[in-house]
């Protein structure tokens, strides 16, 4: 059931339009196996559309997206799991049943699926919350369950769409550390869309800056300390600070140019 997670992602000359509205234009980006790539850019530049294209939920109007060589939408859908902006936990299921959704969808018996999810709950600091309903969980906890739900699908590529946008600053920093640890334990080729440059530079190996609509990549910056165990140390490091300044400057130029 589990797929080999060491897969490459290739996005070549992708264009996309909703009717007359062009959302993406000649977008090219490549991701190595287990690389975490951040996508930052102005609002409405097509970041979420790009994630949907990567996941095989839509086909690009031009160009091609391939995961491990497979470029048709079905092949991408098979290899990519999406974590949407809102946690979208189903309120009628317990936390563990939410996390185990992909296993149940693949026909696994409930008890088995729960047992497999329970292991991850233990590993990722959610032990004791298995039976809780989503409404009983805090925002951070809900995002953790939502991430595990994405991870449990066992797919080699993760598409994370602003996973922490709705959280307060402190919970957000905690969740970044948590996700960094999770990705160290269970590395995946990951695309992380975020508005937060600092979050992108801390969690990702590389950060791609997108232009305003129709979106394309205007700059790629490598992060100095991706997913470092000591988050506070990493983000105050001069190299990190200067990378952040550079990223912000690029973003500002992009905004001015639009």
């Amino acid at each position: 059931m589990r797929q080999d997670t060491r897969v490459k992602l290739e996005i070549a000359g992708v264009g996309h339009a909703y009717g007359d509205l062009r959302t993406l234009d000649s977008l090219t980006l490549a991701g190595e196996a287990h690389e975490v790539i951040g996508l930052v850019g102005p609002s409405g530049c097509g970041k979420s559309t790009l994630l949907e294209l990567i996941c095989g939920l839509q086909e690009p109007t031009e160009g091609a997206i391939a995961i491990d060589g497979g470029s048709v939408a079905e092949a991408r859908l098979e290899r990519c799991a999406l974590m949407p902006q809102r946690d979208l936990l189903l309120p009628w299921y317990s936390a563990i049943d939410n996390a185990a959704l992909a296993l149940r969808n693949r026909g696994m018996k409930r008890a088995e699926a729960r047992a497999e999810a329970a292991e991850l709950f233990d590993r990722f600091g959610l032990a004791g919350f298995e039976a809780a309903r989503p409404a009983e969980l805090s925002g951070g906890m809900r995002q953790r369950v939502a991430f595990l739900r994405t991870l449990i699908a066992g797919k080699p590529v993760l598409a994370l769409d602003e996973p922490f946008a709705s959280l307060d600053a402190i919970t957000r920093a905690e969740m970044q550390e948590w996700l960094a640890a999770a990705l160290r334990t269970a590395p995946r080729t990951t695309i992380l869309v975020t508005h937060d440059v600092e979050e992108a530079l801390y969690l990702c190996d590389r950060v791609a800056v997108m232009s305003a609509r129709p979106g394309h990549i205007v700059a790629e910056l490598s992060a100095p300390h991706p997913r470092a165990e000591d988050r506070d140390g990493a983000v105050t490091d001069p190299k990190f600070v200067s990378a952040r300044e550079k990223a912000l400057r690029t973003l500002r130029q992009t905004l001015r140019g639009s």
Partner: protein, 261 residues
Amino acid sequence: MHDKGTTKWDGAWKWVLPALFLLTLVGLWQVAASAGLLADLFGLEDFLVPSPAEIGEALWENRSLLAENAWVTLREILLGFACALVAGVAFAIAMHLSGFVLRSTYPLVIASQTIPIVAIAPILVIWFGFGIVPKVLVVALVCFFPITVATLNGLSSVDPEANKMMRTLYASRWQIFRRLSAPTSLPYLFTGIKISIVFAPIGALFGEWVGASSGLGHQILQDNAQLQTARLFAAVAILSAIGLILFGLVALIERRVVTWR
């Protein structure tokens, strides 16, 4: 602690206030009727304006007759409602799954609501006779619309983002329906059921008025003709109680089923 106490107190008042108001109304009615004030006011004989106590007496004296007729009407209500529930949910699912079915039938479903059921009831009697069938059909027709529209609304209210997420989690169309769309639509379905269960007794009443030899509607007509006003009121009270109890039952089931609200 304090908050909890306040909530409990509020909960109690929720019932106490309307109960007190109802008791006051019934009390005033009792005084006005037994003193002959109401009869004088309407210029009627005393027995045509019964007091609550007289209605209670009629209820007790005619209990077996009323119970017999109530059972007939209740059966019509439950059968008609069950038919509407099955047909309404099935039809809503068909409209949800097929754009063709939705586009070709939904406007007709809406338009059908402009046809007064009262006008159709006599035709149903001509077609299906004086038995239980036309009554069940009238009840079903009354209940069908709220159930269908509510279920369809519920199915359409599924978050498209959740739908996409489910697709990336290996969900088939059936699994998306079972694990996402159906539970999402459940609270809507219950709203439809609650609306229709209140109207169902009225449907049964219409069905019986057009042609019946038993049932509360039939008895109300007879009591009206025989000027048995106290018994007539008793039948009305029973019909209303049936509606209330069914509504309460549905609310209870909803609380058991829709546990996430």
